[in-house]
């Protein structure tokens, strides 16, 4: 289902949503190997959280900076070390507050206009589901080998 043209002002000419599966897999596996090398085996919980961050980071890098949600994810990841208490963000009145719950789920959703929010949601959802599929595939192939 390709869009005939974007309803919102969006410089991205790509009519389909989501990055290529190969790019996603490549980035994530590379990030996994870094986590494996740099996290001590004695802290599996810490490693689980690092893997989770690697998942969102590789998703965001694969989507590139043309998406508001991926920029928001990368900002969040890079500022993580500062551990600031995040004040609840007031929704901009020009953006309106339709679909409040959705705005809280999609990174960067708070300041978007409704139309952009819907487009970003579609791209974010597509990337998320591809990431989950990728991680499930790795778990499945790693668990079934040697049996």
């Amino acid at each position: 289902m390709d869009s005939k043209g974007s309803a919102c002002s969006n410089p991205n000419p790509n009519p389909t949503f989501g990055p290529s599966k190969l790019m996603l897999a490549f980035r994530f596996l590379r990030a996994l190997s870094i986590v494996h090398r740099t996290t001590p085996a004695s802290s599996p919980t810490c490693r689980g959280r690092r893997i989770e961050r690697a998942a969102y980071a590789s998703m965001a890098y694969s989507a590139g900076t043309s998406r508001a949600w991926s920029r928001a994810v990368l900002r969040r990841l890079h500022h993580r070390a500062r551990r600031r208490a995040v004040a609840p963000r007031r929704l901009s009145t020009t953006a309106g507050n339709r679909a409040e719950a959705l705005r809280r789920l999609v990174p960067g959703g708070a300041g978007m206009d409704y139309c952009t929010l819907l487009e970003e949601t579609a791209d974010y959802t597509k990337c998320l589901s591809m990431q989950v599929e990728l991680m499930q595939g790795i778990v499945d192939s790693a668990s079934s080998n040697g049996r």
């Binding site: 893997i51 998942a55 789920l105 139309c115 998320l128 989950v132 790693a142």
Partner: protein
């Protein structure tokens, strides 16, 4: 934001919004799509929220499972060797 941009935005029609919302519906997995086949926009957005939440939980859970698998890599099982060879390349 320049005036032209905001007036262009205000000309976005309901039809275009509906198109975007049906795109969201097409991204839902089969089971969720079935339950929202003739749903209102607001129900579809609720379902999308629920779907995104479940995807977040899956990333969380799969990260833990991958972490567990990594600890098997510290042994000499055949699985460990295969995973090691994938990650090395």
């Amino acid at each position: 934001m320049p005036i032209e941009m905001s007036s262009r935005r205000s000309r976005i029609t309901d039809e275009e919004i509906n198109e975007l919302i049906s795109k969201l519906q097409s991204l839902l997995p089969e089971s969720r799509r079935r339950s929202t086949s003739r749903a209102s926009a607001s129900k579809l957005l609720k379902e999308t929220c629920s779907y995104i939440r479940s995807l977040h939980r899956e990333v969380d859970d799969l990260s833990d499972r991958l972490s567990d698998l990594m600890s098997t890599m510290d042994s000499n099982s055949p699985q460990a060797e295969i995973i090691r060879s994938i990650l090395r390349s």
